[in-house]
Symmetry: C2
Subunit: 409 residues, 2 copies
């Protein structure tokens, strides 16, 4: 007998039939004796329909009113799911974000959760009800409806699980778990039984878009065991938890990659204090997000500086640098929009030497030239020509034997 | 400079274009220096769409969850209208029923308003905003979403107008006012400049379905001047107020009729205490609403008893009476589903004799046989064969010269 918070996304509740299916799944857990709180998104397509209406009315709708509008999407789903459960003889009760006091800041369209009052939910659970909560939405201290931004239902589920001290937070999606890499790139990619929060954060931010990063951060912060499962097929999914003592930890959990980056390079700038700021200040002022930053130690009093940005921002970033007074006294400003980043992620690498060299060896074996390298505690990222993406991912997947659960121990 | 509460129904906000049109109308009033609070319904068709979803999920959805679902309809409209106003540079803010504390009882799907806290609305008006409120919905003392039942947006508007002590409550609809009778029946029917609350109640309950009865009762109770106007054409509409001292009052305001009634007659029941209760008790226990009731003084210790019910309930009512033990000792139980009720309504008749006889004379002149007569302070109703409906209404409209504003003074 456990308390489980489940979250079903838009595709999982995309039609009357699928909502009935979700009700069946919830009922299964109830029959096993568990208490269940369900968080749902808007039915797929609904948010876009509402956004379309808004755009037809006002090209730049105010954030507050957009939230009033969009929050109806989840409200429809909670009512329908509660009805489906009641129709199965299972007492259920639906709540909007405001009704269970999901208190957020006032940043409309991208609000952050501050606090949740779990009292009402706990009372319903004690009364034997399934509680259905609208994801993605909350209320600010003035009673205004807020939304957490797209995909925010994951965060709602995790925050509720934390507030209720749930035993597990299950995120149902259209994939059956987290994979060692994208199966479309490496056919022998394997579903992970478990992965740590840190690894998941590195995987997610690097492009394996299974879960919202904020939800994973939240889960890690409040130590909520998180499980990613498919709502369309049976299976245990992937459990995301903290590293356990004595747990035999895989060396490498997976290979993430990002195809949306572009590289900007400044060669031969004077190697003086403040150079990084002079370069990146104007970039950040233009609201361009920078991902990797690599600065090489240079010769003869100058240094080389390279960073990556989203491809959409490449031209803008280049223009900004070339428009700077004296062009930073750089010898050359150049770049390449056709690069990819490939990253090896695994908490196991912390305690194992030689991972980096094995990685570079595998890439070299395929004749892949590495342009940039950046490392963190549990991640090694390289930037290579975009044409090497598939080849590089597969070479690394094979080299670290990720197709086998016994890899690298 | 006045405070005006306006209510726009589903047809008036049925599309993006119509919402833009409503925004233009609101802005007109703002430009004239008025403070405006707008109450809106769900876009036409939306409530039916949501009901369809609910029915596909659960043939008998719980009232609480139905209210969570249906209340999204108005919530979409308030956001869109606020966006349309903001798009015109007019500061606006939308509120759900819960957000402005439209406190109701807990009778889901047919809740009644208990209290409204106007403080938040007043603050916004003082800040120069137009306030847009979702009609038809409220919140009970436990924070559950409630709805007032179909058409309840009129009641929301009137209740808000009362709470805010508004100067006028304007109900925009698809007709341009209240008419002396249905123009489809009498082509010379005339729009009334004004009508009293009492007359309006008699007109509405008798079949001139312009306004929700509850809204009129509410407006009368709190003395809120109510105006019915068209949202599609310009014009002053019809003002519904209390009878004013010294106001030259028309003798007759209008002729209402009801084609949905059926007559049930019990002949020759023993004329004893309790006979009415023995007849109507079982009818009311079966949730059948009774409209007119007429009991004649009978001869030889028996009496005759006739009442009318909705035609849909006719067979059921007849079966109940015939199924009663000893059939009430009645000589005969019979009925006729093909009757209509025609009513003459006017506060002026209170102080004028001879209205009834003039009415009966006009009907007799057309050879129309009267089956039942029932009178109140400001109304005389007759039941006739349904084939006489048009003939009877036109004869009365002509006899009382209702086509002319100077009638009967």
């Amino acid at each position: 007998m456990a308390l489980i918070v489940q979250k079903y996304g838009g595709t999982s509740v995309g039609s009357v039939e699928r909502i009935q299916h979700v009700a069946d799944k919830v009922l299964d857990y109830r029959r096993q004796g568990h208490d269940v709180v369900v968080v749902v998104s808007a039915m797929s397509g609904e948010t876009d329909r509402l956004l379309g209406l808004a755009r037809d009315i006002n090209a730049r709708p105010e954030g507050r009113e957009l939230d009033v509008l969009l929050s109806t999407g989840e409200q429809v789903t909670i009512a329908l799911l509660a009805m489906a459960l009641e129709g199965r003889g299972c007492p259920a009760r639906s709540y909007t974000g405001a009704q269970v006091h999901i208190l957020t800041d006032s940043a409309h369209n991208k609000a952050r959760i501050r606090d949740i009052d779990g009292a009402r939910v706990r009372r319903d659970l004690a009364d034997g009800r399934v509680v259905v909560v609208a994801g993605f939405q909350g209320v600010d201290e003035h009673g205004n409806i807020t939304t957490l931004g797209r995909g925010g239902s994951d965060t709602t589920a995790v925050a509720l699980a934390a507030a209720l001290k749930a035993d597990e937070c299950q995120i149902y999606t259209d994939v059956d778990g987290v994979y060692t890499t994208d199966p479309r790139v490496a056919a022998n990619a394997r579903r992970l039984e478990r992965i740590t929060f840190e690894e998941m954060l590195e995987m997610a931010s690097l492009g394996s878009k299974v879960l919202q990063i904020r939800a994973v951060e939240f889960a890690g912060k409040y130590n909520v065991p998180l499980r990613v499962l498919s709502s369309f097929q049976e299976g245990p999914g992937t459990l995301i938890t903290f590293e356990e003592d004595g747990m035999e930890q895989a060396l490498i959990s997976g290979i993430a990659f990002n195809q949306n980056e572009a590289q900007v390079t400044i060669l031969g700038v004077p190697d003086q204090p403040g150079v990084a700021w002079r370069i990146l200040g104007p970039i950040s002022d233009a609201n361009i997000e920078v991902d990797m930053i690599v600065q090489n130690v240079g010769a003869d009093g100058t240094t080389d500086f390279t960073f990556t940005v989203h491809r959409n921002d490449y031209d803008k970033a280049l223009a900004i640098l070339q428009g700077l007074p004296e062009k930073l006294h750089a010898r050359q400003i150049s770049g390449d929009p056709k690069i990819v980043k490939i990253s090896l992620v695994g908490v196991g690498m912390r305690s194992h030497a030689g991972i980096a060299s094995k990685m570079f060896e595998a890439l070299a074996g395929e004749g892949i030239n590495i342009r940039m390298i950046s490392t963190s505690e549990i991640k090694i990222s390289v930037v290579v020509d975009e044409k090497y993406l598939e080849l590089g991912v597969r070479a690394l997947h094979d080299a670290f034997e990720l197709e086998s659960p016994q890899q690298g121990r």
